[in-house]
Amino acid sequence: MRKPTYRGSNRSDVGLLYAEHSARVLRWTLRFFARDEAEEVVHEIFVKVLERIDGFRNDASPATWLYRMTTNHCLNRLRNASRRAELWREQGPLAEWTTPVAAADQEPRTFLQQFWRQLDDDLLAVAFHYFVDGMTHAEIARIHGCSARTVGNRVDRLRALAAVASGDSIKEPHA
């Protein structure tokens, strides 16, 4: 499997990244935005890529680095939208690729839909990966470069916030 090496100038590296991953980043972005807007968002993301190219070079997994950046950028862009935007796309080619929601995850996911705009970046990103992408603590920890324990703490925090919002007592986290 060919892996491009990114050790050239910033411009050439970004060009390589764009050629290699722009379609992939578009797929990820389509989960948040309609096609026209998604293409613009992809371009915004690669402008950011250039600003943070040193961070990319220090990362062992280009796809993971871009995935994390794309998710964060899309979530932040949604928050900055002048209109209320749906966090989850209900139409589109990837609409069926949704993770089954376990019973214990339903309340936090509902809370996330209502209050995502008011969550801090770290909590929102972890919550999105956990309750929307269905990722494990270990995978989220790998993406964010933190410990699985930190991920667990944030998931528990969102569960607690959801429980308070619904007026229920705090439930034990889903195993």
Binding site: R11, T64, T99, D121, M135, R154
Partner: protein
Amino acid sequence: MSSSLAETARGDLFTRSGHLTLLTLDRFETGDLSTHQFEEVGTHLATCSTCSEAWGAARSVAFPLPPPNTRSTGRRAAMRWASAGIGSVVAVAAALALAIWLQPERAQRSPHDDAHLSAGAYTTSSLSERTGVTSNPLDDRVLDLRVEMNDASIETGDRIPWDEPLSFELHTASPGFVAVLVTEGERDLEDLEAGDTESSPHWATLAPVVEIGPSTPWTHLHQARPRPTTHSISERFSIVFCESIFTLDELEGLWPELPDPTGCVLETIDILRFGNVADSYS
């Protein structure tokens, strides 16, 4: 390597429901997996109809995305690409402009960790993106913002002792209202031992909403205090200026909602803190 670090390094290819994650499929496509992981994914795709369908659906969306055309893209993105040069992108200067003074003698500057994907010194602040508040460098309405320690300018990334006061001064061109939020970053001791330096921020109102005008600059003194806990490592100051009066509802765990985001300006300053935890608070 501790078990938690090993777990972090390995990650997980599957969702909690036992299917491949979207990211795993992309890493599979790009060859960003170990040999063992690649075989594991391939074996799973051969046996799981759900994942193989998702794999096919995802790839059907992907086709080469052409470089941006300035006529077809949104105006803001087009301007950025046009200034950068298609195919040979140049760096975009997007620094938050704070007043630049002489290097403080006591502030210990440390390189800002730009690998972290939250807002840094040269990006739109996360709170502004969260609330829709403008965070352009020194918006026309904000003439000057100074944060100082002992008459020396403080900038994002500086390392400041806990027991030194900080002064804030804001000059605006138009009347309005200002408030300052502070977020204290903490580091869990067990995470620290595991090599994890992530923080769990909690925010509070540092300076409540007050009225400010062109002829009445706003000043505030953030008193020196002992290090709150052994886990306290940083502070983020979010200075909010709005043309209309606003309130800050301190909902635990949630950032405040600001009214009329288009009429507000936000500046943030992230500083690292160091010092000893006092035996008692005076």
